[in-house]
Every structure is written in C-alpha cells, then in structure tokens.
C-alpha cells in the first residue's frame, strides 16, 4: 500500500467486462461514482444486477450476469480484509443473489489491478478466467471439467504456479445443481444462492488470479496507526484464544443446550448424540492445523481430516458450525468423522453444505415418511445417520439421476414434485434452505429467515441471544432488532471484510468506518453507511418483486412446520409459534421498514433512499406499497440494547 494522490484511493482502478459467448474482454476505468454511492461489494453488485439483467432472464441463461467484486476495503490493511463478493440472479431463489468467501482471491484480484469483473453470455466450451496482472484471458478448461473442486485446485496450481489464487466449481455446478457453490483455498466457499450453478451455466470452471501490485490508500500513516491499535487490542481479547482453537464449531453444544439445533430435518431442536459431533470432538479427532484468511490474525479455519472405516481418508477445511449442525444433527450423524466426510464430499462436489445438508435432511424425512422409497433411490435406503445412504443420494443429486434431479433444484422445488404434504417440512424460505438454527422457539431468528433478502440465511441477522434476553415466548420488538441487524451485518458483505471482528472481538462499526475513511478519503460516517445498507436492502426487495410479480408478503412465509408443529423433545418441548404470531411479526417488520402490509415498499421510503426509479418500476407492475397513514419511520431499525445486558 502507498499514500495516494490519485482519485482511485482504495480502488484498483479498472473494471473488466467479459462476454463469454464471444470471448471479448473489455477494460474500463472503475466507476468511482458507483463505488462511492453503493460502497462496492454487495452494493455495487445489487445495482448492476438491477440495472442490467432483464426481469425475465433465466438465472442459468446467457442474459444473467456473474459479477466478482472484492469491494473497497478488501486487500487493504484492515482486520480480515479478505472477502470477495459474487453476485448474479439466483437460480435458487429467482431474485438478487450474492455470496462471499474469505481466503485470498479478492485481494489478489485487486492486486492484479481490478475492482470488478462482470461476466455475461455462455462460453461455447469450458473455460477458466486467467488473470496475471495485465494478462486477462479465457483459457480452455476441458482438462479440468468434471473434476471435483478440491481436486481441481491443486492441479491448477501445479499447472499455473503456487502463487495463483484459484476458485473452482465442482460437478454440481457444472450440472446445474441450483445450490452449487464456489470453492477456493481448499475449503473457503461462497456457498449460498447458487453462484456455482451460474458459473457452471456459463461453462466457467474456474478463476485463476495472480496480482503483484499494491493498493493506493488515502492516508497510510493514519490507517497503519489505527489498525495496529485494533490488532494489539484484539490479540489479547478473551475470545481470541478459544476462537483460534475451536473456530465456530465450539458452539454446537451450546445450540443444543439452548434448543435451537436443527435435528433430523428440523423435526426437533435437541440432539441426543451431540457429544460425538461437538467442537471438542472436532479438535480431538480431526484437527490437523489452524488456518487463516488474508489479513487475519484470528485463524478460525480448521484444516482437518476425516477417517472412516471403508472410506478413503480425506482432507478438508471444517466442519464449521453450520456444516456441523446441518450435516450433523440434522442428518442424525453421531461421529464428527461422518460429518467431516460429508463436508468433504459436498465441498468436492461443489455444493453448499448448508443447502446440501438441508436437502439431504429433507430427502431423509421423505424416506422416513414413505414419500420416497428405495424404488426412487436406485435400490438404496436413505436412513438417518447413514453416511453410505447420504453419499449415494448426494451422487444422485450431483449427477441429477432419477429423483436426484428433483432435489438438485433445492427443497422447495423437490417438494413441489413430491407433494403429499412434503412442502410443510421443506425447510426453506424463497427457495433457499434455512441455516443451522431452528426458529420455532427463537422468534427473531425465524423472522430473520423469513425476511432475509436472499432467502433463508442467518448471515444477515442472527438474534438467538436477543430472543433469550427479551423472552423466547414473546415476539414484540423483535422486528426492529432484525431490521437493524440486517443493515449492520450486510455492511460487512458490502465492504468485503470479515464480520467476526465486529461480532466476536468488539471492533466497533465506527472503527471500521474510520478505517474506510483512511483508505478511501471519503467523507463518510456510520449513519451514512447504515442508510446505504438500507438502500441496498430496498433495491434488492424491489428486484425480487419485479422478477416474481406478487406481493412481497406472499414470499416471506416459512414452511408450515414453523407454526403447525410444536417442538416435540428436549428443553423446549411443547414450545412453538402460532400463525398469528408469525403474521404479527411480519406486520411489525413491514411497518418498521416503511413498507405496506403487503410487504411492498412505499414510494415515500424509496424516495427517502433515492430509489425513485425503483418506485416507478414496481408501480408499473402494481406492486408499489400503499401510502402509509403515519408516514415512514424516521429510524428504520434500532441499535439493540437488550434488557439482560
């Protein structure tokens, strides 16, 4: 990094547009106005997708874009400035989709000189994107096509050089499995919303980047002083040592004790075999070494091996919490080696372990209830706790054989095919499978899934300790907290830095905004950042309405299990939400956002956010929210100060 007098502070300066159909590669100066207004990352991606992808475009067709954007802080001297955001219209949700990952790819892209890569079209043959500073090429990838993600990366590094950063898709992405992911650094994934399927649809097998340049920042001296102080402070933070040892897996047992862990496809929230799949078991049985992303001193990644009788020993990163829950208790697995093996299997196939765990669990429950049988499974069973059954089923899904093809579209599409009441326990919202927490006795968490802009996902709002502090039997006030969290947590996906320093090591948003100022020279404060995040949230909502053409409320419901079934076992036995409570939470949430009761943004709130163009567009299709009798709320989302804290 160096002090900058140019206008490109924090930015690399160039944007690439690549037409995969023709092979044409265009360079242009990065649109600094776009980056300033939308903060890069998820924000810039949201605006470009909104402006450029036709509303009737097939997410797996040539008109969809696939965008790679590391954001303005990625690659700079900032805690874990490692992230890169990928975006496209999601084949899983049919709305705006984005997903990010750590590792080293995002910084490498900026070091090569690029702030964003926008890919369109479909290549006539498998290719990979090769970037070596000024050299940008689409290269033949026929020799890599068909390889597993984890197998492909070392081969490409051998072919190109160890100093290339590689991201790949696996056979799932190649075959159009709608919850396919992108894998990098032997186990970092952009897992959600099916970005790997979009890459596969474009015949883009991989991305290989080597960058040798630096990034010019506005005030290097102040940035260094500021971030060095954060480094020193966080190194002695109480959470640092446990984090380094256990990563996120340590709190699997906590989720069980507090009855939120999904068990056997969210049938209950307490798992009797939790010790076998706990964070402690991971460290004792599987851990090889700790692993960090670019610019991170937390090293929460766990490089591990899975050893199972009759199986090849496999090496992977993980399982972290989500995989531990969704491929562990949610599938009835009893040994951490089983979970790690399934983690490897899905990583190598290139499918999201969260949606993947959800899909396998849904299929297992269908089998339990006789809705699918061995006749549908090539003669196999699909029993809880069986790695062999899960492995065979995953292979059917990856290669879309027989009924595997139903499930390749995710649980929502599979339930539409299977019918017979299965939609009630297809644990998804807007087509995306739920994360590793059951919201039936954590109402804020359920509302977080229901209203998440990319389909059910914890990343944008996680409220379980809020639910505990406010009372898990109550719903009042939860919407305001969810809205605030959706704005603050999304900022990390916009800035492309890791959220965990904020959430776990007490680095305040104001400190990050201060670093942003030193990097960019922008006159920005936390309030503006939160409004920008809200603006992006509303734009993504409008995009969803424009593509799916119905009132927003109709898309915001969880599956009926969420209100029809009380939790049957464990510490929360007998607890659960009613449909009326779910409706009341939605009412409170929409009012808190300045949307009408149908869940459609009102013109007043869109105008307040400088989104008049989006208001015009949803008005044309009859989905503009009705005027609000009391006007829009002045503050949409309130910083949470729970009673218990």
């Amino acid at each position: 990094m160096a002090n900058g007098s140019t206008s490109s502070r924090g930015l690399a300066g160039t944007t690439l547009r690549i037409d995969l159909t023709t092979g044409e590669i265009k360079r242009s100066p990065t649109d600094e106005k776009l980056m300033r207004e939308w903060f890069g990352g998820r924000g810039a991606i949201a605006k470009i997708l909104y402006d450029e992808v036709p509303r009737d475009a097939d997410p797996l067709g040539p008109e969809n874009l696939f965008i790679i954007c590391p954001g303005v802080m990625s690659g700079c001297f900032i805690p874990a400035g490692s992230k890169v955001e990928f975006g496209s219209v999601s084949p899983l949700t049919n709305g705006h989709g984005d997903s990010n990952m750590g590792g080293h790819l995002g910084p490498a892209l900026k070091f090569a000189g690029y702030d964003m890569v926008i890919l369109s079209g479909i290549s006539p043959r498998p290719v990979y994107l090769f970037i070596d500073d000024d050299r940008v090429e689409l290269r033949d990838a026929s020799q890599y096509w068909g390889m597993g993600s984890l197998e492909c990366e070392p081969v490409m590094k051998q072919d190109l050089g160890e100093d290339f950063e590689i991201a790949t898709i696996g056979p799932a992405g190649e075959n159009g499995v709608r919850f396919s992911c992108i894998t990098h650094d032997f186990g970092r994934q952009a897992g959600r919303t099916g970005q790997g399927a979009v890459m596969g649809s474009k015949k883009l097998k991989a991305i290989a980047i080597r960058g040798s340049r630096g990034i010019v920042v506005h005030d290097l001296e102040k940035l260094t002083e500021h971030v060095t102080a954060i480094m020193k402070r966080t190194q002695t933070h109480p959470n640092m040592a446990p984090w380094q040892k256990y990563g996120t897996a340590f709190f699997i047992e906590w989720s069980n004790t507090n009855a939120v862990i999904p068990t056997r496809n969210f049938q209950t929230t307490y798992y009797e075999n939790i010790e076998g799949i706990s964070g402690e078991a991971l460290v004792e049985k599987c851990l090889i070494s700790h692993k960090a992303c670019f610019g991170c001193w937390m090293n929460c990644g766990k490089y591990t091996k899975a050893v199972l009788p009759g199986k090849q020993t496999v090496y992977l990163e993980g399982p972290e919490y989500e995989t531990g829950a969704l491929c562990g208790s949610n599938l009835g697995m009893t040994d951490i080696n089983q979970v790690a093996y399934l983690n490897w299997l899905m990583d190598n196939a290139g499918m999201d372990t969260m949606s993947g765990g959800g899909v396998v669990a849904f299929a297992m429950e269908c089998f339990q209830r006789g809705l699918i049988t061995a006749d549908d499974l090539e003669g196999h069973t699909l029993n809880w706790g069986s790695v062999e059954d899960a492995e065979h089923f995953i292979d059917m899904v990856v290669h879309r054989r027989g009924t595997g093809d139903y499930f390749a579209g995710g649980t929502k599409r599979a339930a539409e095919k299977i019918g017979r009441g299965s939609e009630k326990f297809a644990m998804q919202v807007k087509g995306q499978e739920m994360s590793g927490y059951d919201g039936r006795y954590a109402p804020g968490m359920l509302l977080s899934y229901m209203t998440c802009d990319i389909g059910a996902h914890h990343n944008r709002s996680w409220t379980i300790t809020v639910d505990m502090a406010e009372g898990r039997d109550t719903i009042e006030g939860r919407a305001k907290v969810v809205i605030y969290l959706q704005h603050i947590r999304s900022l990390f996906d916009i800035w492309c830095i890791c959220r965990l320093f904020w959430g776990e090591l007490d680095v305040e948003p104001e400190e990050i905004v201060e670093a942003l100022k030193y990097i960019t020279g922008w006159d920005v404060d936390t309030a503006e950042a939160l409004v920008t995040s809200e603006k992006i949230w509303n734009l993504v909502r409008c995009h969803y309405l424009e593509r799916n053409r119905a009132n927003g409320r109709t898309f915001d419901y969880p599956p009926a299990r969420s209100w029809e079934e009380k939790i049957p076992t464990g510490p929360s036995a007998g607890k659960g939400l009613t449909k009326d409570q779910i409706e009341a939470m939605l009412d409170e949430y929409y009012a808190g956002r300045g949307w009408d009761k149908n869940g459609n943004p009102s013109r007043a709130v869109l105008h307040d956010l400088n989104l008049d163009f989006a208001a015009d567009n949803i008005e044309k299709i009859g989905l503009l929210g009705k005027p609000l009798s009391n006007g829009i709320p002045a503050v949409r989302g309130e910083r949470y100060k729970p009673k218990a804290f």
Partner: protein, 79 residues
C-alpha cells in the same frame, strides 16, 4: 480463594469487569463450580457458550483453583 473471570462480546457487559476492560476479580468461599460462581454473581450461564481454562474447554461443573483465570465465551453471532 480468588479467581479471575474474563469475557468479551455480549458477555462483557453482563460480567461487569473491574480489573481491566474484560476481567472481573471474584472472591469465593470454599470450593465451587463455575456454574455456582456464575449464579453467585447473577450471570445467567445460558449466555455462556464456552468455558476455557488454560487452553482447554471445560463445562459448568469445573471447580477452579485459587488464582486461576477462566475465560467465558458468548455464542457466535451466527456460525
């Protein structure tokens, strides 16, 4: 007997540190479990996801010895 409890994140405010930003000194009469000690200082153990002592994970039944430092970690805000 004196022990030292350390916590950050959401737990920090509940712990009410008095030694430094993260640490609270607690005097104990006799031998007690961590669960009992947390109850004595009105810190709900439900908010504690991990108890970490000398580099090892412990549970609420662990009985600390004089001078020991116990780190209490809140749940991850989304894994």
């Amino acid at each position: 007997m004196t022990i030292f409890l350390r916590a950050g994140g959401q737990l920090r405010a509940m712990l009410k540190p008095d030694i430094d930003h993260y640490t609270r000194k607690v005097e104990i009469d006799g031998e007690k479990t961590i669960g009992e000690i947390l109850k004595d200082i009105s810190l709900d153990p439900a908010y504690v996801a991990l108890i970490y002592v000398d580099g090892v994970m412990k549970d609420l039944s662990f009985r600390p010895s004089d001078g020991q430092t116990i780190t209490l970690q809140p749940p991850v805000s989304g894994g």
